[in-house]
Amino acid sequence: MPSSPNLIPTHSIYLSKSTNPYFNLSLEDWLFRHKAPNEPLLLLYRDDPCVVIGRNQNPWKEVNLPALRVREGVPFIRRRSGGGTVYHDLGNTNFSIHLPRTSFDRHMTAQVVLRAVCSLGIDATVNDRNDICVGKEKVSGSAYKIVSQRAYHHGTMLISTQLNTLGDLLHNTKDTMETKGVASVRSPVRNLQQFNRGVTHEAFVDAVVHEFSKEYGIRNVDGEVQIVSEASCRDIEYIQNGMSELPSWEWAYGQTPEFTYTVSQAFEWGTVTAKIRSKHGIILDCACSLSVADDSVSSMSAIQPGVVDSLNPQLKDIERALLNRRYGFVSAIEILKGLGINGMDDETGSGVRAAKDIALWLERIMNS
């Protein structure tokens, strides 16, 4: 069997057969960078379940990482365009319109997609954030990217997405995490199928292709539409590189703008407050302070007075152990090694126990 010929970026309409989000985002970027700069291009694709954050966002602030970990095989991915956090699954269809930078008009591109939605019998509108809504609820979120000669407007379209999952995975209220990352603007969302049961991914795709072709004067639509498979891009290095860059720590976490997370935890022997400062995914510093509650000592039979005094220098060691480590990727065992404590089972002195409590707690909060 002959292998699929390599994909070429000379057509105007691309429909991806793949549901691999890493592939689809890399395909989008490749088309973005290699299509003739003055020609319009449309790409439509669907992804397997994943959470997608904006280029300049903070995943620890935006994504419910513990909930995400529970769902096997659902990753979070940082995309290359700006904006906020969204959830993709097969009930969501993504559109991406690429245009020359000089004639890029977000409102016009939104109108193209709006017309497509309306043609499906849905009374949709565009709100003042350029998102498509039905009434007060969003059915689509948009984001954009501009480089030297090209620009794109891409977005989601909720057709039959699992909205409960969406709500769960995007639910994150870390009030004490102050971040310079771009914040998501949360809005209530609904599926198109809730307004018209007959709407499907195929129908939406046809409608968008039709409106796009009308708007940009594409004749011979059938000749322009290219169905893309992962196999046809196996030899395209740019796409392969993109697919390995996206899940890398450097991209997924290392692009996070600076943030400071202040958390407190009450233990039996007192309360520890940690203020962790991180930039580009690296811990810049961690300030830990300890306060003892007056009645805590009397409630504990095993704690010796003076254990708190032994804790303060240990806190300094813990702070040092975290320095320059990757935020969210430090285990309690690694922290304790910095204190000369090997493993969790070694030594049972109460001072050591407190240090272990703190290390475990720090590991946990950075993973939340």
Binding site: N56, G82, G84, K145, I146, P257
Partner: protein
Amino acid sequence: MLSKQITAVARGKGVLGARTIHGGTALTMSRGWKTASANIKRAQFHSTNLLQAETVKVPQMAESITEGTLKSWSKQVGDSVAADEEVATIETDKIDVSVNAPSAGTIKELLANEEDTVAVGQDLFVFEPGEVSDSSPTPPPKEDSKEDKPKEEKSTEEKPKEDEPKKPEPSEKPAPPPPESKPPKKEAPKPAEPKSAAPVAGSRNETRVKMNRMRLRIAERLKESQNAAASLTTFNEIDMSSLMDMRKRYKDAVLKEHDVKLGFMSAFAKACSLALKEIPAANAYIDGDEIVYHDFVDLSVAVATPKGLVTPVVRNAEGMNFVEIEKEIAALGKKARDGKLTLEDMAGGTFTISNGGVFGSLYGTPIINLPQTAVLGMHAIKEKPVVVDGQIIIRPIMIVALTYDHRMLDGREAVTFLVRVKEYLEDPRKMLLA
């Protein structure tokens, strides 16, 4: 060869000694730092580079977007870049804007910090084009950029405001290199001084509110109008007694029969329509090198809404009677206040009437609504002593202003237009004879 003056300026902050003048020959200047001898002092190194350095500015982002937040530097000072490689990322309004290197080269200086708000056209980084082999010049640029950074932080605040009205900065290559001469210059105006020690009574608080899109558009169009047209204003007074009398007599009947209030707008609209027939240039517009005359009068009526001033259009006002005009204006006013005006409602007027009088203004120079040629401003009616048939009596007087584009209308025509309007309004019966 470069003149002594230019090299002196370029050296700017550099420490000059006799040795440097010898070391800094035309040869080294023209061939760049690569061939500079080891004897040349660091400051000279840096100033030599500036002669070849380019300042890259914040690019255009999307329509009507004027600023964004610099999110991250992808490259640092001393890094080499390929042509079109990303150097920085700016985010604004869900857009990720990539700032790319115009050609292959080295980053010399970063002119803004991460998280700064940067404006379109603002200087963003300095880079030296050309293939780079080694990284030895890193120490000097870093030192200078550290000095420049605190100054630049202050000037970054000034820059967004200053760069807007100024046209694109002069190009980098010729004489005084921008980055070098700019920081000292900007120090002089308002540096962000720390609070003075003397206690001050009262709040010193500032509140910043982002301009909404409507206001930004209005601001843009007003400036366009001022720049394009040769605007001047002519005034006149109107004795409103006859019109007020007419209104008093018939307003109740009109309200009962047609369910609309009989105001003065309809009279003004009618008077203007008739006067425009006589002075067609006031109802025309310039298109390139042609003047386009209209057979119809589409009257833009200025309406104040909570969001700002809008001018919906009454189409074919020349064919409407008083009642029809009032009805149309009332309907448009309601749409405006409900925020339901469409672009079609507001496009294509041929003449504008603006009523500042409802707010109490006495005199005023309205601004032309491009691409129209003239605008009539109505003001408040005040009882004034006037002379009629040799007697001093009290009459209600309104001052009207006509701002017109002198490219289209001469003084004679503008004054005649306004006089006609005055005559029609002082004796409405004349409108029946026109």
